[in-house]
């Protein structure tokens, strides 16, 4: 039996995951709701499987939103600044220096921090029972429902197909000189990388660290940063695609563009 894991966009409103399984005998698709599932060993698998456009598109059409959970950044007493249904905006300004909508305050030892939204949308759920209460670090406090644009949907689907190489730390990133030269010469989608290649330099506090590629071999299909950009830990830096799957990826883009209004 093949297992298809649509991660992370198959994440439901309740924070659980939907595991999609294809029965080889009847060709039926079976959906399972999975709690606390460890996906780490499955991440590479998703890009080796064929793509079921209809299922994916149907899912996005039925629920064209991204659900962003906000968790307590540290222990402390929480006070919500908004109610369920409120519209919120993300950070703005040329340097993203203008904070987004104020979501909640968290106070620890009379040191109060205001946490702002990093995305636009509406508050779809809020744990109002925690208002005024002491919470532990990491406690889920609210969820923002962000309406996806066509471009974001294409990107979300691509991110299910590509191998995503993530930022190891919050830092600024730029391509290694060798990779940058190849990109300038031939374009990113002509640059083949494999595990062990020095592909990126991470710059944090004027310390440059060579970052070595650890994913599956392939070409750099998507670049999610501009050299010198500040990226948060865990954000994808590049999306890598096995060469033989490039036509499939192009098909994803064409199909979504054609079918999405």
């Amino acid at each position: 039996m093949n297992v298809y894991v649509n991660y992370p966009s198959s994440r439901g409103r309740d924070g659980n995951y939907i595991l999609v399984m294809l029965c080889p005998f009847k060709g039926e698709v079976i959906y399972f709701i999975v709690r606390n599932f460890n996906f780490t060993h499955l991440t590479a698998m998703s890009s080796n499987q064929e793509i079921h456009f209809d299922e994916i598109l149907a899912r996005y059409k039925a629920d064209p939103y991204n659900y962003v959970d906000m968790h307590a950044i540290h222990t402390g007493k929480v006070r919500f600044l908004l109610e369920e249904g409120a519209q919120v905006e993300g950070a703005s300004g040329e340097w993203k220096h203008k904070p987004g909508t104020r979501l909640y305050e968290i106070d620890r030892e009379r040191n109060t921090k205001v946490i702002t939204s990093k995305t636009s949308g509406a508050i779809s759920s809020i744990r109002s029972e925690l208002d005024g209460q002491f919470v532990e670090a990491g406690e889920k406090l609210l969820t923002i429902r962000h309406p996806l644009k066509k471009k974001e949907i294409i990107e979300a689907i691509l991110q299910e197909v590509l191998y995503l190489f993530e930022a190891p730390e919050r830092a600024r990133y730029y391509f290694s000189m060798d990779i940058q030269a190849k990109i300038e010469q031939k374009g990113a989608r002509s640059v083949f990388i494999q595990p062990g290649d020095e592909i990126i330099t991470m710059s944090l506090m004027k310390r440059d660290t060579a970052v070595y590629y650890t994913g599956e071999p392939g070409i750099i299909h998507s670049v999610y940063f501009t050299p010198g950009d500040s990226m948060d830990q865990g954000k994808p830096l590049i999306g890598v695609c096995a060469e033989e799957k490039l036509p499939l990826v192009q098909k994803v883009i064409t199909r979504v563009k054609a079918e999405w209004e």
């Binding site: 220096h97 440059d208 060579a210 010198g228």
Partner: protein
């Protein structure tokens, strides 16, 4: 060749003996010095090299081929460098008369303390220069300025050896007895000799620098130990001991600055430096009053 190294070691001990005791108890001072003890455990000195860091990388690979790891704190010194460079492949002028040094340190700190490594090295350099009576100041992150001119520069990189061991390589350049600088540096660079109007003993300066590096890197490791015991780090607002000392020697806060990832090639914006956050980030105020915090990149004073 070896006598120069012996002189460095003698001077290093002299400076260690008279290190400012800070507010630490004697047992803590001993602990800090023990953490930093590997600094200069092995010293190589050359009359000329292409780059000290390249020599260190060769030593790392050679050690691996022999089935061992390079000694922590291994230092490579050269009287002149032929292919020295700064960040972004900027030219670094390394003639006779300066201190051109690189050191390897194993990557054993937690990431939240590794971020302070460039601050610790800057602190050590600044303190070494101040031993000569100069009012050296640190510009975020670790440029050493005297009277507004750059007297020393630091390059920090982290590498992975072919065998998978990770090291921090630090390159330090201090303008000692060199007095002339090529065109573009003429108005921005200075040296100890220019500032003091006298020649200095390079073995003494090297020994002093190694003593201060031992203290500062030891302090960083001690800082990590204390933070782990307290269960807090900078993300939770804990003030680092290294950063505390660094701030006392820095004149960055209050300056009007230009910021950029590569500020010489691509300046991004101008702002006023307002504070250094507990994680070492530079908090700057833009013209519209909004504040932005940067954790990498560089500034120039306006």
């Amino acid at each position: 060749m070896s006598s120069f190294i012996q002189q460095i070691r003698c001077h290093q001990q002299v400076f260690l003996d008279r290190l400012a005791p800070h507010s630490f108890a004697p047992a803590t001072v001993q602990k800090i010095l023990a953490y930093g003890a590997p600094v200069g455990a092995l010293i190589e000195h050359y009359e000329q090299l292409n780059r000290c860091m390249v020599r260190l990388q060769c030593l790392i690979e050679k050690a691996e081929q022999q089935g061992r790891v390079l000694e922590a704190g291994t230092v490579v010194l050269a009287d002149t460098l032929t292919e020295s460079s700064g960040r972004f492949d900027r030219v670094w002028y390394a003639p006779q008369g300066g201190i051109w040094l690189a050191m390897a340190w194993p990557d054993i700190l937690l990431p939240e303390f590794t971020r302070f490594f460039p601050f610790a090295v800057g602190l050590a350099c600044c303190r070494a220069v101040r031993q000569y009576g100069l009012d050296a100041q640190l510009k975020w992150v670790n440029d050493i300025l005297v009277n507004g001119k750059k007297l020393a520069g630091i390059l920090c990189t982290s590498i992975q050896s072919p065998g998978g061991d990770r090291y921090h390589l630090i390159g330090i350049g201090i303008n000692g007895n060199n007095q002339t600088f090529p065109g573009e540096l003429e108005y921005n660079a200075t040296s100890l000799r220019v500032q003091l109007s006298r020649k200095i003993d390079l073995a003494e300066l090297s020994g002093c620098l190694l003593a201060e590096l031992r203290w500062a890197i030891g302090l960083l490791h001690y800082d990590e130990e204390q933070a782990l015991a307290a269960g807090e780090n900078c993300e939770q607002g804990r003030q680092s001991l290294v950063l505390e000392d660094w701030q006392q020697l820095s004149d960055t806060v209050g300056q009007r600055v230009e910021y950029g990832f590569d500020v010489q090639q691509n300046p991004l914006y101008q702002a006023v430096a307002r504070e250094i956050d507990p994680c070492g980030g530079l908090v700057m105020e833009l013209e519209d009053g909004a504040r932005v915090t940067e954790y990498s990149g560089e500034i120039i004073y306006l």
